[in-house]
């Protein structure tokens, strides 16, 4: 049952990332990615992290992707992007992908000595995550609020129209 769920979710994630790569317009790419993030929220749930799964779906698939789609809608679609004109670039990308995949495979083989199985044990309950977040990680959490503040101010300053232009 859990394995079937994993296979379904994983193929949705990979399929929609492929859909993102092969779709021509940024808007469709963003919508494919919403699907990918929602499905990977399900995978997070399988990994015993229900709180992070909810955060993933609400913040990532919800808020961040809506931000992307807003910006895409603000930019007029004046050009359709061709898949790629230059073959060299595509070939180099594929070569890079193969090398990177091989490297990750090697790293994985080393990291996977003694495998264990995923199963729910209540590790990442909201209560436990909250405890860890506000006890062990209190200072990073507070500093994060500073980061968000800086990003907010920076985004406003950057996108403000200058009077002279």
């Amino acid at each position: 049952m859990a394995i079937a769920l994993f296979v379904v979710l994983a193929s949705i994630v990979i399929g929609s990332v492929l859909g993102m790569i092969f779709s021509r317009t940024p808007a469709y790419s963003a919508l494919w990615l919403v699907l990918a993030f929602a499905a990977s929220g399900g995978l997070f749930g399988l990994l015993d992290a229900p709180f992070i799964a909810a955060v993933q779906i609400l913040i990532y698939a919800g808020a961040i992707m809506v931000l992307f789609i807003f910006v895409i809608m603000m930019i007029p679609r004046q050009e359709v992007f061709p898949a790629d004109g230059r073959k060299v670039r595509l070939a180099l990308s594929v070569l890079l992908a193969v090398v990177l995949a091989a490297e990750m495979g090697v790293a994985l083989l080393a990291a996977l000595q003694g495998d264990s199985a995923a199963g729910l044990s209540g590790l990442g309950s909201t209560r436990a995550v909250g405890r860890t977040l506000f006890q062990d990680f209190l200072y990073p959490f507070e500093i994060t609020s500073l980061l968000i503040m800086a990003a907010l101010v920076g985004a406003i300053v950057l996108s403000k129209k200058r009077a002279k232009e």
């Binding site: 910006v71 890079l96 990680f137």
Partner: protein
């Protein structure tokens, strides 16, 4: 029970797909989306190792990564809007020169 290896393999595949998307796509917004895919792959790996070690720190790190991704999206999209306003295009080739 699902072997945890599968999650790590999926994470690696996702990361590679993100890298490929970053290099294949030509508009700034989709390249940015590819970065998000890579972040997501890293999150998946963090959660897998958190599960494997039985440590909650891995899950808290994912929380921070999502927060930083939100901040990064806000700034990055503002920069993309700025590039579009100056160059009238969001193709990566349109922003290949820098001026002081």
């Amino acid at each position: 029970m699902i072997p945890l290896n599968w999650f790590l393999a999926l994470s690696a595949v996702l990361f590679v797909l993100g890298v490929v998307a970053f290099f294949v796509k030509r508009d700034l917004i989709t390249m940015f989306l590819a970065v998000e895919v890579m972040l997501n792959a890293a999150n998946l790996a963090f959660l897998t190792f958190a599960k494997k070690q039985g440590l909650l720190a891995g899950q808290v790190i994912v929380f921070f990564v999502i927060t930083v991704a939100a901040a990064e999206a806000a700034i990055g999209l503002a920069i993309i809007l700025l590039v579009f306003r100056r160059r009238k295009t969001i193709r990566a080739e349109g922003a290949d020169e820098m001026k002081g």
